[in-house]
Symmetry: C2
Amino acid sequence: MGALDEGHFDAELENGVRLGCLELGDEEGPDTLAIEDAVKVLLQGLGEDVNREGLKKTPLRVAKAFLEGTRGYRQYVKDIVQGALFPEAGLDKEIGHAGGAGGLVIVRDLNLFSYCESCLLPFQVKCHVGYVPSGQRVVGLSKLSRVSDVYAKRLQDPQRLADEIASALQNGIKPAGVAVVLQCLHIQYPASLASNHEDWVKIQVTSGSGAFKDEKAGIWGDFLSLLKSRGININKSCTRDSTGKSWCPSRSPSISPTCSSFGSMNPKMVTAVTSIIQLLGEDPSRKELVGTPSRFVKWLMNFQNTNLPMKLTGCTIHNVDSLSNGEVNGEMEQICSELNLPFCSQCEHHLLPFHGSVHIGYFCREGFSPSVKSLLQSIVHFYGSKLQVQERLTRQIAETVSSLLGGDVMVVVEAYHTCMISRGIEKFGSNTATIAVLGRFSTDSVARSKFLDSISEANGW
Amino acid sequence: MGALDEGHFDAELENGVRLGCLELGDEEGPDTLAIEDAVKVLLQGLGEDVNREGLKKTPLRVAKAFLEGTRGYRQYVKDIVQGALFPEAGLDKEIGHAGGAGGLVIVRDLNLFSYCESCLLPFQVKCHVGYVPSGQRVVGLSKLSRVSDVYAKRLQDPQRLADEIASALQNGIKPAGVAVVLQCLHIQYPASLASNHEDWVKIQVTSGSGAFKDEKAGIWGDFLSLLKSRGININKSCTRDSTGKSWCPSRSPSISPTCSSFGSMNPKMVTAVTSIIQLLGEDPSRKELVGTPSRFVKWLMNFQNTNLPMKLTGCTIHNVDSLSNGEVNGEMEQICSELNLPFCSQCEHHLLPFHGSVHIGYFCREGFSPSVKSLLQSIVHFYGSKLQVQERLTRQIAETVSSLLGGDVMVVVEAYHTCMISRGIEKFGSNTATIAVLGRFSTDSVARSKFLDSISEANGW
């Protein structure tokens, strides 16, 4: 805490912490084991064999991910801010304000993620946080990120998250004011199936304390101008969420998953999720969490293992099928493609969503474009609707499309993996692509590159 | 490792690891203490009082940052890949290739950072990595990132980093091939002072093994097409760095820092840096590291504490000075600004660079635009050229400009802090802004917002 009096921090600040990453080594504590048992119940409820290869370590991975993703319950702001407050002379209040005493300090574009308290899925947070120093002291810049992360790593709602960050920094630093702006993204079921045709539900929320308490205060203008200079446009007039409505798509009546009513839900699965919430240190009877176990199970049931083969009777595409058999002159053929078919699947290693686009290329006779988009989308949806890995999903789509559109098929799956951003490595923005090539595509590099170029073009590059 | 035979991994893989974050708690090991002592020598060499408030904990922070930033020396690939190889059926080779067996798997846009072996400064890495599975097995996607990070967290050169990642994944997964593309950014002294007027030195390198060994192989085309579909354009023909020349700007003869020759360098400082390199687990006599201690000291000496006040004699700007005293009618005044003055400073808490732009606003008589840009740039450079914190830098620039251009001044400093990306929190893309407002700017919110809007406009928003 530098030269500053330790007494600046007192009873309102909590105590004790394990900073950095949680020690989740090979040794498993009793909480980890109990969560693993609950995850096994969920896997069984999905019709899965918990002993099959890909799933053997899934309960442990899920337990670790949940504990790591809610480590904020076991972290405390005092331990973060303590030792990172520095004395810094400011200007005389009479003549103005400056960094260190009265001048705004902002950190923009902090990537965080949090867990939605309504459905237990992770959501992404772009966090912008600022404060106006006072009392001749400033805080180390990284602490604004660390404190924000403590509250993000809990079961949250965006507005509460913003309020808790603002309040913790206000109490921890005792500045003239704190401002928090969050831009949050919540995954929802794929665009083609969602009511608003978006992959994400988006929300912006703000919170302010001290000089930022008044939403109309001039200093908010300075803060928002500095966001604008980074291309971040916030409409202050409608950013505080006071509707009381949840943003979570699982609470929206317009989304109807496979399992349409809570009544038909496996009660063992609901009980298992309730116990997980409790083991993470939360109270499952807190009013915002009532119904969360059912909503999480509802989400999971979108990926139930039906063990049914895909029925493709009556789906034969004439002409195309014959074409690939070489009955049409090769010079008459062209590469057709269906691009950006949305999908959402569930990673079988972490029980977390991965989602993105599928691109399918095939040969067909020049001038002939079979109307197969809805059929291909159904195939994509069918293979996405189970516990998956992206590599297998790619192969399964390719094999099935091949049986319909001839043997010359190429499939590219581009996906964001929630496990890549919300688990230990937190690689925001990373994106995975997998390819399957069949028939002529595997030997014809010109055909491959024509198809791949069409993806770049469709993406605007 | 799932159902796969443990025997697939054998002697060529290393053993033992401490994954995740290094245990750098409050207890300090003998290496940490020895690095702290060396850092104190550096601070003293810079003319600093190691007991002044902002610097008290700097030796510990620097020691932790160095140990964390080179934790790759104490991590092993086997421990990362083991347990994350999954059996995944592929297509029959006769009919094509698919995810899981023969189909390309790529993870794009992984943000990493590494330490430059030539100068010890961190450099940013955008890593794109792919492999072609074989033997009916795939690796968990996050492991591509973790393995890459093991090699990034060492003293590196971009080409060696790419080669080591490719080789480690080839040995660890035994796939049909591995491809690695790195886009690296190395900080250099600010644009106005550097020869090429860029804040960054940029380089792209590639490395391939197995099916990617041949740089002209068709599969490279698929890989690069999938990068292109994310807007990443790689010119394959000139991406393998075989020149043997270092990209590091500290090796470029065109950059002449304050301390122009090694001869005049404090030998105690050079010895201290040599001991740090040794304590991190490296051999200071490795040929790429010879000269590194001198180059790091040379960089640090740009930020030597001269204890000299800035000399501004003969710099009075007429008209402007009188204007601000109210001798000219207020309606005749306008807000003038000098935007995007580059700066580079050194964070006194972590001994790491922070750099970006300074924007300065002031009032002047309408139609009169004093030619002060080079003067303002000198002021910015003067206050950047020492161990600093951004809040203090902002205030010092504002106070000095105020004495020249009248009392109505506003300063905005926008900066990237290397400590925010290269230390524990690794907040890539985050950016800090600080404001100082003097005189009329502190009460006139319209003036503030006019000036702030001009920054957004200059940034193209």
